[in-house]
Symmetry: C2
Subunit: 415 residues, 2 copies
């Protein structure tokens, strides 16, 4: 039996018990994990150093090494994250609907865990702890597959977690990490319908697409954000600039940052250079259409491909459009259904944009950077869904649950 | 461009408009379809006859021919179904959550259509009309792929639908039927992520499995029901028999009928032959474990495979179990997560069963035959989901929708 099947099977076996474990016991288990991490900061940092050394030896890019590093401060952030999760309401057992059927059978629609959730992710080892906390809180077992460059960190973290769970009502078997580095193990996970109830990939566009293409287990796609800002004819100039700068430069490497700015032609004739002054001052490279270049010679030429690109960098694509309709059409073609914003004082255009743009989150006169579980007040986030099935946008605890119908009769049969 | 891509593209193009079409206009369109069907009963019956003739020539089984037949009465049932759909509340636009974020951005979580839904189904041509009615009501366009043996019926029905829509606010383009019979067209549909937002297969286990295995488009699995009745030690005898007979014989060919009866050993020693008398009187063949056969020589021997089988016929598998735990374990291994029932006067065992059995619907002292959108009061049903992502159990109108976040600011940026 392969490592994947073996671990999935072990985890699945504890799902039934975990699904009925009390909120208090689940919280105690999560706090025990937090305690375990605090007591092992030195060990974690030492194991993490092995990953860093290997990454340096492999000439890994600095941005990936940055994500890989676990310092005492970052470990304490992980601990704080776990503590926050214990403060959140447990969604499991919530009665979503209750009614008597015609035959007087009492029906309850009740929130239940999925069962076993697979999480496939890349460099950042803090995802290991986040995912464990969120899955256990919602009564789910979890099968983790982290990036190969974080293997020492992840193995160490999961071993601390399993040890911490030993004294609790949550079985250490509920948390499993695939340690083998062969990529085929991921493909094996993706077809393990017998044990896995859900797979959530977290990472770059390549990973997400691979999972969507190969998985027969239900998937929630997350995180690819080719987000647009549309500056309409009647947009306030300073507001447009503030939101463009916030969306592009506050944290360029995250999925809710802006990748393309669409500018209404008349606004562009009057204010494009002012907008571009601000972008260029923030070291943003602008790649634009021919019309943009005519209005501002500092703009470099954009290719068709640029409009599809999630730069995740100080680069923005730009295009002049004739109307809100043309903006909506551009987003329909190039967008990734994540977050889209319109700046305008025209209420009709705003409503048209919010109604017709097909995305998880649509903004009027606000930054796309707000698309985030914590900003939305969910208190947690396992990822941001860009698909429409089950969950859309920031996913908190309820999005990690399913439901079942419980029916109570006194011998009723169907007529 | 293939027929599938061409039709999907046409349908996708009207999604944006359809998503904002008023409830009144959508209802008028559905009533126009109903009117069109009523005016064309003779044409439909004549086209349907071609399918029947071909089925007879192909020596198709009588049960499939029964599902294929469209009589005046069945067409009027379809019309009535459409009229009922217009009476239901439109879920689109419902505000599911509204709150001000910390930054005073107003957030609304609003129900929206999926966009373009693919329905892949088998013999029954009434599904064509059901699916069109339910999809249009929820603002979704629909790409249909029916069984090849119903091609004349389906082509005729869709052509009537498209003609009826011409005078309405809903574009005839919103309804598309794949007419080509090549099976490769289905596979093409299943990887059309660019246009299709969701695929729902309706049919036998083979079709469902094929779709789950091959689709990269998100899927909702429906309808395979390997349902169990567990008769516990403290089960009332007459209630157990009534529910066994109702579950097995009221309509054996449907997914919520019972396929296996699990009997607690002590109850079995006292009452098994009485139960079996009733089953045999209803012409039910019983396939049982060795213990069952010892208690009742009329029981034939069951194979391991029988416990996995959805007989959809007057056949039931039977097994003696020692406890509610053993019943739950059997269901965990062999069940299809559809509907499961326990008969008992023991409240603790009932709760254990309802909490721990992992299925869409779990029943205490009631028949599994209640798992149905109409019985649950949803007023409609596109299918019964046996997966946990998005929808579980009977799917009504809300299950054919997604949601989006709309956010209204006054220039807020993220700090």
């Amino acid at each position: 039996m392969s490592e994947v099947v073996e671990k999935a099977k072990i985890a699945k076996q504890v799902c039934r018990k975990l699904s009925t474990t009390s909120s208090e016991a689940k919280n105690q288990a999560i706090l025990a994990i937090a305690q375990g991490l605090l007591q092992n900061i030195d060990v974690i940092v030492a194991e993490n150093q092995k990953d860093i050394d290997a990454a340096i030896a492999n000439q890994t890019s600095q941005s990936i090494i940055d994500r890989l590093i676990l310092t005492e401060a970052r470990i304490k952030d992980m601990v704080e994250g776990l503590e926050q999760i214990t403060q959140l309401e447990d969604p499991i057992g919530e009665v979503l609907l209750e009614k008597a059927l015609d035959s007087n059978v009492l029906m309850q629609k009740v929130r239940v865990p999925f069962g076993l959730i697979g999480i496939i992710y890349e460099a950042r080892p803090n995802v290991t702890i986040d995912a464990i906390g969120l899955c256990l809180k919602t009564g789910n077992a979890v099968l983790l597959r982290g990036g190969s460059n974080a293997i020492h960190s992840n193995t160490c973290l999961v071993s601390i977690v399993k040890k911490a769970l030993q004294g609790t009502e949550v079985s250490p078997d509920a948390v499993q990490l695939i340690e083998g580095l062969d990529r085929k193990l991921v493909e094996e996970m993706l077809t393990l319908n017998q044990y896995l109830d859900l797979v959530i990939p977290r990472g770059g566009a390549g990973l997400i697409q691979m999972v969507v293409q190969k998985s027969t287990v239900p998937v929630i796609e997350t995180g690819v954000g080719n987000c647009h800002l549309f500056i309409d004819k009647e947009a306030q100039v300073s507001m447009s600039i503030d939101i463009a700068i916030n969306g592009k430069t506050q944290r360029p490497a995250v999925c809710n940052s802006i990748e393309t700015i669409l500018v209404e032609q008349q606004w562009a004739r009057n204010h494009l250079t002012t907008l571009n002054d601000a972008l260029i001052e923030q070291s943003v490279k602008i790649l634009g259409c021919a019309k943009t270049q005519t209005l501002d010679s500092r703009v470099e030429s954009a290719t068709e491909e640029d409009y599809y690109t999630e730069f995740l960098d100080y680069i923005v694509a730009m295009k002049i459009v004739e109307s809100v309709d043309q903006a909506i059409e551009h987003i329909e073609i190039y967008g990734s259904r994540h977050s889209e914003a319109i700046i305008t004082e025209n209420r009709e255009n705003a409503n048209k944009f919010l109604n017709e743009v097909d995305a998880a989150a649509v903004y009027h006169n606000a930054s796309t950077r707000f698309t985030d579980g914590f900003q939305y007040g969910f208190g947690a986030e396992i990822g941001i869904s860009t698909q429409k099935l089950h969950a859309r946008g920031p996913m908190g605890l309820p999005e990690l649950t399913s439901y079942k119908y419980r029916l109570y009769g006194q011998g009723q049969i169907r007529q």
